[in-house]
């Protein structure tokens, strides 16, 4: 069994890991299937009579100020939020892995330069990195948002992978591969990368939670996913204006965020302990 599968199996045996994984699976399933079963999230069936309706059998999460079904919007918004998070994290983990491997294995000036850049980038809170770009950009398409969030999230992962590589570089099997004349590329991709897979997976899982919160925050500021496309953060922004008349319009998308991010973090915690039992 590969170390990674071993770690996943251990995380599954941990109650936190199992709860997190099951909740994440349920949320993903709901976001994938929900929009097909539920009413159109943009539909306004009856403009005057079904505004701000409380939760009922017909509208389990109620309706919002524009008489749209909140449950349908939470499901469709979940699709957007999860999609953005997964793509952005995939991008930042890849960037972090490549940077960390290159910096750690090559060392020298390349390493110094990259790590100085990482230090500086980590000094600016990620929200502000994104505000700097988004404050001057025209309406940002979702794909550009994904690219920007992904491109501002790899610094920590890069430093983490570099540390792992510095440690692994001294291991006997890497020395042996070097002595046998293996190419740099072979050493990096065949020997170093698979052995950093565990920490990378942990970083990715915890990163999903962070990105969901970040995207929700940006959408809440009106700089993220643009209406009428539903997103969890954007729904809370809309609900802010009708807090007293229709609190459910804001409470349910927020609960969706809490549950999803908590599940991702629980799973990530269990995975971290499984990858590195010393830290438990």
């Amino acid at each position: 069994m590969s170390p990674l599968r071993h770690a996943l199996a251990r995380a599954w045996r941990d109650p936190r890991g199992r709860a997190g994984a099951l909740i994440l699976a349920a949320v993903t399933l709901g976001a994938m299937i929900g929009p097909h079963l539920l009413p159109d999230p943009l539909a306004q069936p009856c403009v005057l009579t079904c505004r701000d309706l409380g939760p009922s059998l017909e509208h389990p999460f109620g309706t919002d100020d524009l008489s749209r079904d909140v449950l349908a919007r939470v499901a469709t918004g979940g699709r957007i939020s999860l999609g953005v998070a997964l793509l952005a994290v995939a991008l930042s983990v890849t960037l972090g892995a490549v940077t960390g491997l290159v910096a750690g294995y090559l060392g020298g000036a390349v390493d110094t330069m990259l790590m100085r850049l990482v230090d500086a980038a980590l000094a600016i809170p990620r929200l502000f990195l994104l505000l700097l770009v988004l404050a001057v950009w025209e309406q940002v398409p979702v794909l550009v948002l994904v690219l920007l969030i992904g491109a501002t999230g790899w610094f920590g992962t890069g430093r983490l992978v570099r540390g792992e590589v510095l440690r692994l570089r001294e291991e006997a099997y890497v020395r042996a591969a070097e002595a046998l004349g293996a190419s740099r590329r072979r050493i990096i991709f065949r020997h170093l990368l698979p052995n950093t897979a565990g920490p990378l997976l942990v970083a990715a899982t915890l990163g999903v939670g962070d990105v969901i919160l970040l995207e929700a925050g940006l959408s809440f500021l009106g700089l993220g996913v643009q209406p009428p496309t539903p997103s969890w953060g954007g729904m809370i922004l809309d609900a802010k204006a009708v807090l007293v008349a229709a609190p459910w319009a804001g409470i349910f998308p927020g609960l969706a965020i809490v549950i999803t991010v908590l599940a991702a973090n629980l799973f990530g915690d269990a995975l971290r302990d499984a990858v590195d039992p010393r830290g438990a």
């Binding site: 100085r116 850049l117 230090d119 500086a120 980038a121 000094a123 600016i124 809170p125 990620r126 929200l127 502000f128 990195l129 505000l131 700097l132 770009v133 988004l134 404050a135 001057v136 950009w137 025209e138 939670g209 919160l213 929700a216 925050g217 809440f220 500021l221 009106g222 700089l223 953060g233 809370i236 609900a239 802010k240 807090l243 007293v244 609190p247 804001g250 409470i251 998308p253 927020g254 965020i257 809490v258 999803t260 991010v261 908590l262 973090n265 629980l266 915690d269």
Partner: protein
Amino acid sequence: MTRWLVRRTVQAAVTFAIAVVLMFVLMRLAPGDPLSRLQESRPMSPQEMAHLRALYQLDQPIHRQFAKFVRGVFTADLGTSIEHGLPVTTLIASRLPATLLLGGAAILLNFTLGLWLGVRQAVRRGSHVDRALTVLSLAGYATPSFWLGLVLAWLVGIRLGWLPVAGMRDPLLPPDAPWPARMVDVAAHLVLPALTLSIVTIAGTMRYQRNALLEVLRLPFIGTARAKGLPERAVVWRHAWRNALFPVITLFGLWLPLLVTGSVFVEMVFAWPGLGSLAASAASSRDYPLVMGAALLAAGLVVTASLLTDLAYALLDPRVRYS
């Protein structure tokens, strides 16, 4: 020691300098120039646009703009806010006290509550209380601060009517009211934002304190203290806790970015007249000199906090080697 001090300080300065360059690059990453967004809210004639561009020196070549920007960082001249028409540094200075008050209150609440709960968890390691507190604190970390703020404002402020939900002062309270009345007024306004900010950031404090105390409780001198027949409370608080406070210091540097980010949302939700709400409204209204000023301040704070954390750690812990 002195050499290490100098080197660590120089390192912090270099980090900040690279961060400044990075911010300038990011701001110019977006297509078009920073003023093009303004057209959306208000149509402008080409002459008006040209005047504004000249005012913000956007008609100059990029290296000139960069040179002016760097000079501005050194001379605390960060340009004029587009929305407010006032110098960015003036605006920031006027909003600083409110943010310091809120941030200070949140830190105080976070640390007293977080350290105490972390100790409770470590002492009863593996119990239901320990597990429940871990999940609860993680739930706090998973909660968007703006949502928690809105829910608290709705529940405590509007439904129950216990506390004010917006601003820092009651506008109906005369400014010449006796100072105890004014203090109570500000304190009442402070409760909900400070509570929100500490709930979403408490997980880290609790986890750090729990793990640090567990490390110390394993050491032989704790066994000695117990063998002497000391009551468990004295063992935990007088012997163990004092030694488990060190690692928590490092937390401050890690934790500050969370606080800075959180205050943007919390201040916005509660209309708290601080830097966070200033940054939030600047970003929404595309006021780029002001966004830049806020980002510079945030980066400066983070670099300084991490430097101070390292220094404090080096001064307090004799085991740290200066290399």
